[in-house]
Amino acid sequence: MSATPKDLENLLKRREYAAGFSTDIESETVPPGLSEDVIRFISARKGEPDWLLEWRLKAYRRWLKMVEPRWAHVHYPRIDYQAISYYSRPKSLAERPKSLDEVDPKLLETYKKLGIPLKEQERLAGVAMDVVFDSVSVATTFKDTLKKAGVIFCPISEAIREHPDLVRKYLGTVVPFGDNFYAGLNSAVFTDGSFVYVPKGVRCPMELSTYFRINERNTGQFERTLIVADEGSYVSYLEGCTAPQRDENQLHAAVVELVALDGAQIKYSTVQNWYPGDEEGRGGIYNFVTKRGDCRGRASKISWTQVETGSAITWKYPSCILRGDDSVGEFYSVAVTNNRQQADTGTKMIHVGRNTRSTIVSKGISAGHGQQSYRGLVRVLPSAQNARNYTQCDSLLIGGSCGAHTFPYTEVRNPNAHLEHEATTSKIGEDQLFYCRSRGISEEDAVSMIVNGFCKQVFKELPMEFAVEAQKLLSVSLEGAVG
């Protein structure tokens, strides 16, 4: 007659990863292994100035002395860092294409399959895009329009050549290379990523977007993104990620640094759909990412919105340092763990300036054997008079074999601080499902409806075009969640 929770579990396992194809493209990939020579090779390949090579080598030497963090609530075999290749690029990009017409048609085909047409005329109006394939940036669209507004949006390797002073001034100032193990590794070997600079008083005329794709086997992706919003400027930025379906695990250790000067606003949205591994937990991306925003100026604002449905393991805490007085930090997150996925994610809000405010809304959804932890830190320093924080973390469980955990940390060293924390854990009840079904709605549609309702607070923070994408992605991620 109707489904039992057992069927529910079985159906849950049948999720397919739509972005799971790989592209047969000739690549130049350095042999696995990491040494100073490899770093020199990467730096030379990218034609970098000496200061950057020195910085990389310093990071590498520091990294050698660091230990991999083990405190997160995730379990995986030790990673052999000498088995990873640290640089890969499609051969056809050996000479970077001058225009899209010169881009290898196979690459364009890949992005088309992913639903990212690069041709500007096919683009959603108002979204400029940078695309990173394995280690290199493939194309940046809408460059001219942005140039007119004075906005710089280009691959970071290009920014290092063309705007060395800006890069040098800000690189590593939010996430120094000694910050943590993965940030150290990234600083030593980062290959590409995006750079954004929005000049004083400019409201960036369109959404900026970067699309990351890991294609090569046994390569890691170590991109580095740096966004600087000068005084009184505004920018909204979105990143999306996918990878082919492979049996082995691949490492993704990115660093994202945001700098907001006086009165500037940065809105950073992520839709992360790295390959999550199969239902037995084989393969999938290890997503060990350091993202941090520095509200350096007065009344500046940084807002993180993330929809995390992919990756075998996620270790990620997009954070805000609220240095400027009256600055605002926000973190809105939806994270899904299904099958054998594990996620330890959350945020850090560091209140330094006076009257700083932060909001945290975290929605975790666990299904199958997924394990998910919210880990959040709210720190109020003695200097942060009248700091305020509101934290809400809700977990939704589907089925009986998954887990949700919450690790909130608070460190308050100013008596005027005002902190609120709310947390709930709920199951998609048979009550809710039956209620919807008794109105004629299929079980599958009911689950997706209930889950979307649960995530609504976060989705409404996403740029509109992407909110729709995120909802679809969520439905796909939980496809067959119940039957």
Binding site: M1, S2, T4, P5, F434, C436, S438, G440
Partner: protein, 264 residues
């Protein structure tokens, strides 16, 4: 329209993962709840099913709507000549069966409007009709919101989210008016209503009375039947119908209670 023949049902083995608060209680596996119900409901009729706590009234209502957790051991249920028990809850709903819940469920973040539109379109799909035009739908719903004397703004609130008990019951009837079912099973829709709300809810139910439709009212009290006049009254005790009669039976019950029937 609805023919229940010698229906026997018991609690299904408790599921390991889910245990619902309103569904069958744990530990009662194998407990016999319905023990030979026979009942025929024709189009145009209103039947009231009354009886003491634990007599199986709610089980009957839920079972007809397709709730999991019960095993039918004997007997059958035909709806328009089809085997009702072979259909999923959503198929039953799309074919015109509606259950008004005693405890309507909250679905945070999903607006009432969205639930209604999704439900109505699911039904239209099964009937081979295209999705309803958004403007037509809105007009259709608003009219019914007014009939239930509810605030239009409720359409944009989460389903039953933060609703009072009375609002939840009115919302059930609103959903019924929008979806226009043919067989309406109302499980203690009158419980927890003040007299004004009871009137509004009753008026809503009466709007749906027609020669093509039938209503099964599950209730403890005569009160609702003052407003929604039943054609037949049945008394359920220990999983059986122990007495059937006309509307006067309800009045008799009001005076004498259930004791004299339970002993019978």
């Amino acid at each position: 329209m609805l023919e229940i023949t010698n229906l026997h049902a018991q609690l299904a083995p408790a599921s390991l993962n889910e245990q619902s608060s309103r569904g069958p209680a744990p530990g009662g596996e194998g407990k016999k709840i319905l023990q030979g119900i026979t009942l025929a409901v024709k189009p145009g009729e209103v039947h009231a099913v009354m009886g003491p706590n634990g007599s199986g009234k709610s089980t009957l209502a839920h079972l007809l709507a397709g709730r999991e957790g019960y095993t039918v051991t004997e007997g059958q249920v035909r709806y328009d000549g089809k085997d009702l028990l072979a259909l999923s809850p959503e198929e039953r709903a799309c074919d015109g069966v509606f259950l008004g819940f005693q405890y309507p469920v909250e679905i945070p973040g999903v607006s009432n409007l969205y639930l209604l539109r999704t439900a109505l379109n699911a039904k239209r799909k099964r009937q081979g009709l295209p999705e309803i035009d958004a403007m037509d739908f809105l007009a259709w719903v608003k009219e019914r919101v007014k009939q239930m004397k509810m605030d239009i703004a409720m359409l944009h609130r989460g389903v039953n989210e933060g609703f009072s008990g009375g609002e939840k019951k009115r919302n059930e009837i609103l959903q019924m008016l929008v979806l226009e079912p043919r067989l309406m099973i109302l499980d203690e829709t009158d419980s927890g209503l003040d007299i004004d709300a009871l009137k509004i809810v009753s008026e809503g139910i009466n709007l749906m009375r027609s020669p093509q439709r039938a209503i099964l009212l599950v209730t403890h009290y005569q009160r609702l039947l003052d407003y929604v006049k039943p054609d037949f009254v049945h008394v359920l005790a220990r999983g059986r119908i122990v007495k059937s009669g006309g509307p006067e039976l309800a009045l008799e019950l009001e005076q004498k209670g259930y004791g004299w029937l339970e002993a019978a």
